[in-house]
Symmetry: C2
Subunit: 213 residues, 2 copies
């Protein structure tokens, strides 16, 4: 745990991560007013990086600037989460279709290895599970030629709401094995080199009925 390598990233990024993770964890309730100066004092930094962080949060829809009152933390209803999930699934399906049949043998081997590794992760380590899951999806659509689409999806995986989905709704060892099973199914579908098959399997795996609500 010894942080021999000090975090050298900009303060704005660290402040942003802290606030967003507090929001999705529920530590900061919806409706709370985030005031630049208060937040700055709380983290022992100046208003400048706080301003950057709050701007980012607003851009992502987690907060709203209310004149004269500060940045208000938006409510995140289950419907909002579903909405984000639906868009993400749609784009991921598009990307997978385009990536279909373009995976190199090395990439396929690597994907298979990632699933195996995924199953060995400590079920309690939500952060690691999240990272590995995102890595699998990233590798899956890596051959997709649409760069903008790949970047958009990468941003959505890093999106706080996506984290909220994973951390809140997807927990426990049984879910870990379900995800591993889904990923194996996806790899099976990949063998067919048929975009429709891939999309169909993705639709099945992303079916929110058993993960959300």
């Amino acid at each position: 745990m010894a942080p021999t390598a000090k975090d050298t990233r900009p303060l704005a990024v660290r402040v942003y991560e802290q606030i967003s993770s507090d929001i999705i964890a529920g530590t900061i309730e919806a409706g709370t007013a985030l005031v630049q100066e208060q937040v700055a004092a709380q983290y022992g930094v100046s208003r400048t990086p706080v301003r950057d962080a709050l701007t980012q949060l607003t851009l992502e829809g987690l907060a709203t600037l209310v004149p004269g009152r500060g940045y208000i933390v938006n409510t995140l209803s289950p419907q909002d989460v579903k909405d984000v999930y639906e868009v993400r699934y749609t784009l991921e399906s598009l990307a997978a279709r385009q990536a279909c049949g373009l995976h190199s043998p090395q990439q396929l081997v690597r994907l298979r290895g990632m699933v195996d590794e995924f199953e060995t992760v400590d079920p309690a380590d939500a952060e690691e599970l999240f990272r590995m899951g995102a890595a699998f999806h990233a590798a899956l659509i890596d051959p997709c030629p649409n760069t903008y689409l790949r970047n958009t999806l990468a941003a959505m995986w890093d999106h706080p709401i996506a984290r909220r989905i994973t951390m809140t709704y997807r927990q426990g060892p049984e879910h870990q094995s379900k995800v591993a099973r889904d990923h194996r199914r996806i790899l099976e579908a990949l063998k067919t080199d048929d975009p429709d098959t891939i999309a169909e399997v993705l639709r099945y795996c992303h079916n929110p009925n058993d993960t959300l609500d």
Copy 2:
């Protein structure tokens, strides 16, 4: 032209709009280094709003921060434009499917009126054509219940690359009438209340083969 109502928006927004429009117009070439202090001096403002503007540009993929050199303007190949367009079309199709059958009679009347009005716009007024086109699409998917999806699409219409598409590749009176025709086709499809029909018409209208390249 008398600016009786002074622009009261934040400087960061105005600087951002100026730079992004200069980029898509080609006034600022790809590879150009945007240095905070230089830009600030150029517009007669301080570095703070310039910083905000450049951050926004980076977030949207129009520039990249290169340490020690400044913000470098990214190249925008026709392929990049196509990529953005494809994602936009995909999401718009999804939104239209969900909005299908949910339009109130008033909304349908309004949509029809917008198409008529669109045809009366001066073909040389690219800015107005862009605004009206965006308004039509916004009204089209307005009943879509997925708020996140609606917001995402709204952001994409305002995206500089979308402006580039409209301003660069879609010009002239014949294109104006083509768009009006397409919009009428979409309205016809709306009558069927069938999501597949809508999606099919959208796919036809968004076929980039005759508008891009």
